[in-house]
Amino acid sequence: MSVTLSPRRLRQELRGILLTLGLVALVTVAIFTFVWYVGLTRGTIAYLVPVLIAAIRWGLIAALFASACGVAASAYFFFPPLYSFQIRDPQEVINLLLYIIVAVTVSQLASRLKRELEHSRRREIDLRDLYAFSRRIAVAFDVHEIQAAIEDHLTTVIQREVLLFASARDAAIAAEKRAGAALPRDVYARIAAIDASGAESQTDPAAANVTVSNGDVWLVRAVSPKNREFGVVAINLGKPSESSIDDMHVRVDAVLADATATLERLGIAQAINEARMRAETEQLREALIGSVSHELRTPLASILGAATVLSTAPALAAEPKLQALALDVRSEAERLNNDIQNLIDATRISSDTIKPRMEWADPADILDTALERCRKRLARHKVTLNLPQDLPLVHVDAVLVKQALVQVFDNAAKYSPPGSTITVAARARDGRMILNVSDEGAGLTEAELPRIWDRFARGGRTAMETSGSGLGLWIARSFIDANGGKMNAISDGPGRGMTMSIELPVPQAAIHTMENDQDE
């Protein structure tokens, strides 16, 4: 048992000794009283009381001191020669031995008891923390929550500044945000090294200590040597002594072992991995679609342009078959271009890069432009336009709304038979502009109705007869959403046509403007 005499410890011992001295004095007075009044010859056994109390309360040194004082006091006051410290009676020696044995035994017992008590108290706190921690982990939905939980748990248990990073790259970004200051360069280098080293390589605990320029010691290690996904932890230990570093290591090891076990039990490693892979796949997919569609569009511009030149070339005028081929190339290229444009739009939507350019627009203009764009596709349908003269202006990105309408018209043309009527109506009501596009086509069943908004949705009953990527209505709805509007589909049932309804907000200012448009 190593006894280091820190000032605090010294004060405690001193206090014990002083109290012991007081106790011995008290017992001496008590014995005197008994001897005087009761006529007890010798009550020196009572000196065991201070020894016991000191052993239990103040430890070995105080107890030994109590023994010595007891023997000294009894020699002085009760054993002949009285009022002298001379020890003649063997009884005194036996007393001294007895006291010492009691002092040592009891103080050992007491200190062990105290240690056990302390240990169990600490254990209880640890368990409570761990329980709170695992509960938090269990309800955590993403990697960040889990990491924050580990971080907080470590901070509670170790009482030091703890930073946890998913990766070295994360460390560079997050350290500044969370610690308020940049991470020391050596610590960062260590994190990077751990992050770069394979998942299987064990982290050498001795090398985990990093002393930085201001003298602080940082403990840097992987949360789990087996699972790199759990991240790297950096703890600022301050300026500790050698022994407390070891102590800290033991505690960190214990906490991280517990945390890792919990994480593994909950399958967090797999979840983190999957989430990361999902995000990466999604990113890759979007990037791929984006770049492929741009790459495709460039040659398509040449194909389409060249086809239009060929189809109008005088040399082909006398060759109707060849001219028809050129026209085929042209119309197929146009179709391909539409599909590619849809893919590009879809990428813009999912990557959230749509920035509506809001401006005042006449809804009649938007409808007309959209119809103009679809004229070829609507050539075999009857289109009736039903617009009141006093439609208010809307404040939207007219181009996005037009593109949404083009998708709606395209859809109506696709799913309703040639010769049927497509009715376009607009009206303003309760601060909303409502644009309805109704067809007399295939309609929708109850079950189909909500599914039409899905990405890559295709009409199940009609998929064989129609072409398209199934992106159209999804794009249309996203564009309308971006303008603060709403899009709904209403159908009376299969075979009974459907109505696409687009709602756009009409700002109060628009109505105001209508009343004030005086010329001059």
């Binding site: 569009r297 460039t298 040659p299 398509l300 511009a301 040449s302 389409l304 342009g305 060249a306 239009t308 030149v309 109008t312 070339a313 005088p314 042209r330 290229a333 146009e334 271009n337 539409n338 444009q341 350019r357 401006e359 005042w360 627009a361 006449d362 009649a364 203009d365 938007i366 007309d368 432009t369 119809l371 103009e372 764009r373 004229r375 070829k376 336009l385 617009l387 202006l393 990105d397 007219a398 181009v399 037009k402 200012a509 628009a510 403007t513 209508m514 448009d517 010329d519 001059e520």
Partner: protein, 244 residues
């Protein structure tokens, strides 16, 4: 043809695009010069007389808008820009920089030819001081400040006439909202596009046979308005196949 063929300068880094443009333009009686980069284009435009420039916005060495700006700094030659869809802000910027019109990629040769002819006609009209513009049933006489629809003289307010006048001066080419607002209402009202919307609606009631589907005063969503090219307005269905 007795007149010399108009010379077109094509600026595009894609050789396939240049090839189909050259073939299409030459088949329709134009002489063609080509440039693959912006620097080459500027050199070509200074060295040789050019009647019209077609510039792609994505050039390897400089932005297409720089080419427009540089050429415009010394020349009034018509410039048509090849742009992509959903870049309305960019189109507006280019038009304000002095480009005469734009065509959205991918496009058919007929659409480009129509734009080229409109731009050339505007240039020659400006040079000869031709006083009237006719679009379908509508004639705007810029000299006498009168507007005639189907032989009937229309009564327009001064602002309505001014709007029509600005559009007629650019007949066939798109005019941006900002330009119209500045010319008709003054530079203070350049952001008040709702004035313009209401105004155009009223004007269409007066000049369009079918105001709900205008054929004379055509909307270019997100950019501006265009007074239709004569042939477009006469047989509404000949608008070139626009895709994209």
């Amino acid at each position: 043809m007795s007149e010399p063929a108009p010379i077109v300068l094509i600026v595009d880094d894609e050789i396939q695009i240049r090839r189909f443009l050259r073939t299409g333009l030459e088949l329709n009686g134009f002489a063609v010069h080509e440039a693959g980069t912006g620097a080459e284009a500027i050199r070509a435009a200074t060295l040789r007389p050019v009647d019209i420039v077609i510039v792609d916005l994505g050039l390897p060495d400089m932005d297409g808008s720089d080419v427009v700006e540089r050429i415009r700094s010394w020349s009034t030659v018509p410039i048509i820009v090849l742009s992509v869809r959903s870049a309305e802000a960019q189109k507006v910027r280019l038009l304000e920089m002095g480009a005469d019109d734009y065509v959205v990629k991918p496009f058919g040769i007929a659409e480009l030819l129509a734009r080229v002819r409109v731009a050339l006609r505007r240039q020659s009209r400006a040079a000869s001081g031709e006083p009237s513009v006719t679009v379908g049933p509508l004639t705007i006489d810029l000299a006498s400040r009168t507007v005639i629809l189907n032989g009937q003289r229309l009564t327009l307010t001064p602002k309505e006439y001014r709007l029509l006048q600005v559009l007629a001066q650019h007949a066939g080419n798109v005019v941006t909202h900002q330009h119209l607002l500045k010319e008709v209402w003054g530079s203070v009202h350049m952001q008040d596009t709702h004035y313009l919307r209401i105004f155009v609606r009223k004007l269409r009631q007066k000049i369009e046979p079918t105001p709900d589907s205008p054929k004379i005063l055509v909307t270019e969503l997100g950019v501006g308005y265009r007074l239709a090219h004569n042939s477009e307005a006469e047989n509404g269905a000949t608008a070139p196949a626009t895709v994209g």
